[in-house]
């Protein structure tokens, strides 16, 4: 039996022939633990094979964009923490970047370095959690997830000591960062980064070559690179299909062009590649962090000309995006010269990455759909907004 069934229509069979009988429609979620929150999918099954899958959204919808239009620019910053609540530092940066584009603000060099350090720590945190959750979805209950959460807690401790909150950091500002990281904090970050490779070695020794993991994930949920590009898939999901597209390289925002790092790409676009890409990206993040911590310049972390109170950018619009841990997170803002944005739009990577969920799951079993969804890496706070 082949572990790699064709994606597409090959396994979609006639609905009511005598051999297959009736199809079964199963509503998975919104309270199913494998759906990472309140995601729901209506799965049509032929025996155990998925012939149709329709995601249903909106259980966590609170119209984030309307909230953004009804508050000032700065007051939206803490709301962005709640989008993808694992990666609030990245969300803050994406929003700050869009507003800086809109208002033409400059960012001091030290703040750019601090942003890179925090964004890469966030990437470590997100990818570690993802690997843990993916193992949980595979049925490896507990151990890898607890190892991952142990490391995550160390990073969250750093975030808490810097911003005052573990997850809702609210740290970036337009034109810089809120507080200057003190020397002790930087020493703590350095200790964490130095020790992270050892954790990854341990984690990989446990998982990467594991035969059960390979049997469960290799060839499962293949994604075609052309479809991935067309469907707007971004981030590790896109790179796992072999498309070497990383906004840190392509846009070169912030001070990323100064750092030396590689962009890992996959070869098969299956679930195992998506897992592996994240592990390799963490290795590259450690390299970036080492360079950023070594080269951190002195100076202010806030542009002295940037205004926090009474901030009114001139009329116009801007779209700013960064490479978040889940993919391209962008903010589209329209200003009419007032204190609130006229239009505030989030480009949510988790939501758009789900466009091709059905294409990846067709022909697989329900158990495979769970790990395919796990490898997409969604956070419902961002999907439903």
């Amino acid at each position: 039996m082949s572990l790699t069934p064709e994606i597409g229509g090959a396994h979609v069979r006639a609905v009511h022939d005598e051999f297959h009988g009736d199809l079964l429609e199963v509503s998975m979620g919104p309270h199913h633990p494998s759906t990472h929150g309140v995601f729901r999918m209506i799965v049509t099954l032929d025996g155990e094979t998925i012939v149709k899958l329709k995601p249903v959204f909106g259980y966590l919808h609170r119209n984030h964009e309307k909230l953004g239009e009804n508050t000032t620019y700065l007051a939206s910053m803490p709301y962005t923490d709640r989008l993808d609540y694992l990666n609030s530092m990245s969300n803050n940066w994406a929003y700050a970047l869009a507003v800086e584009k809109l208002a033409g603000l400059a960012v001091p060099e030290r703040a750019e370095y601090v942003r890179v350090i925090l964004a890469e720590l966030t990437r470590l945190l997100n990818h570690t959690c993802l690997a843990g959750f993916l193992m949980q979805d595979c049925g490896c209950s507990g151990t890898p997830l607890m190892y991952a959460f142990r490391e995550r807690e160390k990073i969250l401790d750093l975030f808490e000591s810097l911003s005052g909150s573990r997850m809702m950091c609210n740290y970036q500002r337009f034109g810089g960062c809120r507080v200057d990281p003190p020397a002790e904090w930087l020493a703590g970050a350095q200790r964490l980064v130095d020790g992270y490779s050892a954790f990854l070695d341990e984690f990989e020794a446990l998982l990467t070559g594991n035969e059960i993991l390979m049997a469960r994930t290799q060839g499962v949920g293949r994604l075609d690179p052309a479809l991935a590009v067309s469907a707007g898939v971004a981030g590790p999901m896109l790179r796992a299909t072999g498309v070497g597209h990383d906004l840190r390289k392509v846009d070169g925002y912030g001070v990323y062009p100064r750092f030396e790092f590689r962009v890992p790409v996959g070869a098969h676009g299956d679930t195992y590649d998506r897992y592996m890409i994240r592990i390799l990206e963490m290795r590259e993040s450690i390299r970036i962090l080492q360079q950023a911590l070594a080269g951190l310049p002195g100076g202010p972390v806030m542009d002295p000309k940037a205004k926090l109170r009474g901030f009114r950018p001139k009329a116009g619009e801007a779209y700013g995006r960064i490479e978040g841990p889940k993919g391209e997170i962008g903010f589209y803002l329209i200003s009419d010269g007032g204190p609130n944005p006229y239009r505030y739009r989030v480009r949510p990577p988790s939501f758009i990455n789900l466009t091709i969920l059905e294409d990846m799951c067709l022909g697989h079993t329900v158990a495979d759909a769970v790990i395919i969804l796990g490898s997409v890496d969604i956070v419902l706070g961002e999907v439903d907004r």
Binding site: G58, N63, G232
Partner: protein, 221 residues
Amino acid sequence: METVEQLRDRLLARFPGASVTVISNPSPSAQHSLLLDHAHAREIALYLRDEPALKFDQCSNVTGIDWPEKEITETTKVTVPDPAGGPPKVVAQTTKRREPGYLEVVYHLYSLALRQGPIILRLRTGNRADAVAVPSLTPVWRSCEFQEREVFDLFGVTFEGHPDLRRILMWDGFKDHPMRRDYAEPDDYEWEPTPHGDVLAKAKKHYPEKPAAEPAKEAKP
């Protein structure tokens, strides 16, 4: 990368009869956009995707904007001859005109192959009430599928040619479009039509009807 003006000229040369207008953006980001007409929108989108020199293979972001009807007050100075025969007077005259409202859909395109972008496309509806259809670009870029559904759900733009145009974030029984500027929250959220109303009505069939309430006993003296 070509400027927006060059791209407009290229599109106009390629598609005679199409209407392509540059909408300039005064902010420092200088991300100008192209307003397309409905009849040629999909052809132009296909051209932008497939032309080797452009290759905008990813539609990254799709969103809607609501521009309600605006009342614009203009003050002009008019010279009026004096009926009494004196020298003509200069009088300030205020005129009010109404600018009709419309809904707008914005597409941000990037080229992964050539690493360029963004190109921003805009489509406008005729008004905000009955002419709210624009052509769907989902057949061109798959990423529009959920995002156009979201614009339909929250703004009420209908996309012609969309394979599966349903509400996505709000529930199916919801009536209004909450991202419109004039959306009013209901006073009583309990009243808001939810699927529960129908479900409860159906459930009633399973229970016997309650007997009519007995007349209240007379109060003891």
